[in-house]
Amino acid sequence: MEVRIDKVRKEFDRFAALHDVSLDIRSGELIALLGPSGSGKTTLLRLIAGLERPTNGKIFFGEEDASDKTVQERNIGFVFQHYALFRHMTVLENISFGLKVRPKETRPASADIRRKALELLDFVQLSGLDKRYPNQLSGGQRQRVALARALAIEPRVLLLDEPFGALDAQVRRELRRWLREVHDRTGHTTVFVTHDQEEALELADRLCVMSQGRIEQVGTPDEVYDRPTSPFVFNFIGESSELAVTAENKELWIGGRAIGLPSDGFEGQGRLFFRPHDVDLVEGDAALAGVVISSRRVGGTRRVELAIGGDAQKIEIDLPFDHPAGERSRLAFRPKRWRLFPTAEVHQKVP
């Protein structure tokens, strides 16, 4: 099922949580809505679900305009951060709930409901726990039950709101891999919300990076990581180093020194962004050169903090931990990949 979000705006008490957002979700893909808190990602998910109504704009499920449909009519599967399992029901009753509440004409026979629920329990690898109550399960198990419950109604779209947010790191990683498997086996169009970039990069086919109620960039994890289109995405996804530069005579300058990078037609003040690990050490003058302020080993790499230029802008670069340059007091380097943004654009920073 394709989902098309067309210029959707959502206001709460006149405060705009989403500003005219448009997004095409492809059939069968696993897409992550990624952003800091307050970016509008959960609001967007709840709008797709029908748990909220847009102030403006439309949402299409395939060709069908779903904007005015209720959450029940949309037939979506929703998984909540805090599971929202029905605590007075057993695991099996939880999973079969969606089928049991159907009107008589479309409700399967109770034996079929039971069989299907047991199948799903098996599918989420919790066979034998059918008679347990939710509070007798671990967090990871509860979230598996919640997913089985959502899958039972054969949803057109699967929506997950920070599904691993309440779990500890070990279980998170395990469930992440497992969710990817589930998605590959069932082929549901899946949208999940997360603030954890590692989770999004590892799990999703595509990322939709959001900030302050707007979509910043949509693309595959590699595209978003390698070619961020805005300073916000550069800062938010992965690590970044940032320098104030001047573009003049087709070159970039810091404090009157050319740094050996072309300006690509840009003139004026700008900010240069690059990844700390994506650099080459070089010898010579026409490069970024700085005084080493600190140098410490972090696992398999050495993180070196440098002060660059006359006003000693501080940036970080990564070297292999056993690189001899780690001992030096002065380093020169060149970013392998970089991006230049005009200064005016750099007003958004990660909070």
């Binding site: 805090h82 029905f86 605590r87 969606g98 509070n135 007798q136 919640a146 419950r149 959502a150």
Partner: protein, 284 residues
């Protein structure tokens, strides 16, 4: 000496015993002794006199009226309590703080004043009283007045019990049920109500006990017409004023019994469903 205080917050043995003794003595003096007095006084002239005084027409009428009032007032307050708790816990609206304060009003106001309010509203000098009377409806000094006063006095019980419970539970479960295709009614019956049923039961028991035991507000509006508008507490007082101690205490013991049954019922349910109770209250 090192083990004298097992932890920073536990007192020495003598202090513990002293506290427990004070507690028990207090309970014996103020709870057990009066109860014992009520039952012993009721049975002083033997079981025969006890039962015959309960079978007098006036006593029978008082018992009937008390049950009637409770049967009307308690369900109405259950409906109102659930509505109020739902609105307060699940919606944001203007005047919410005021509503919460107003729900507590019957607790903070003297029951006599609650009764007087209805005298002012429906009395001979009021606007509503004569108008209703012209249609043949008597409110004051009749059963409707007693029911109204009882509802007023007992309406916080269910709502008070449910509001914190529902606020704590939030709307996640309801959203989950709706997303699975349940209608609003199905969601309420299958998810919301089971989630609050223990709080609701407790509220109903308290509400019922108060509805049957209310004296002050009912005394003002009832007019104490013997055999017609006297509830059990009023009848007890009237009998006592007439120095008919046995009959007074017989009826009083029935009221006391009600309180005891309520407590036993509650403990029994808690014991019987303790597993489920733990499961329901065990949080997410």
């Amino acid at each position: 000496m090192a083990n004298r205080y097992p932890s920073a917050t536990s007192e020495s043995r003598p202090v513990q015993w002293l506290l427990i003794a004070i507690c028990l003595a207090f309970m014996a003096l103020f709870l057990v002794l009066p109860l014992y007095a009520v039952f012993s006084e009721a049975l002083r002239q033997g079981l025969g006199a006890f039962f015959s005084s309960l079978q007098s027409p006036d006593a029978q009428s008082a018992i009937r009226l008390t049950l009637t009032v409770a049967v009307i007032a308690v369900p109405l307050n259950v409906v109102f309590g659930i509505c109020a708790a739902w609105a307060i816990a699940k919606y944001e609206f203007k005047g919410k703080a005021l509503l919460i304060t107003l729900i507590d009003l019957p607790f903070s106001i003297s029951p006599v004043i609650a009764g007087l309010v209805y005298v002012l509203l429906f009395g001979a000098g009021s606007f509503l009283g004569p108008w209703l009377k012209s249609y043949g409806i008597e409110v004051l000094f009749a059963v409707p007045g007693i029911v109204l006063a009882t509802i007023f006095v007992t309406f916080p019980f269910v709502a008070r019990e449910l509001i914190p419970l529902m606020q704590d539970q939030g709307t996640g479960d309801e959203e989950a049920a709706l997303s699975l295709g349940a209608s609003g009614w199905q969601t309420f019956m299958r998810v919301t109500l089971p989630n609050i049923r223990w709080g609701l039961l407790y509220g109903v028991l308290l509400c019922n006990a108060r509805a049957m035991g209310e004296f002050g507000a009912v005394a003002v509006v009832s007019g104490k017409i013997r055999g017609q508008t006297t509830t059990m507490p009023l009848q007890v007082e009237m009998l006592y004023n007439e120095y008919n101690a046995t009959a007074a205490f017989a009826l009083a013991s029935l009221l006391a019994l009600l309180a005891l049954v309520t407590l036993v019922l509650k403990s029994l349910l808690e014991w019987r469903f303790s597993d489920e109770l733990a499961a329901t209250n065990g949080g997410h």
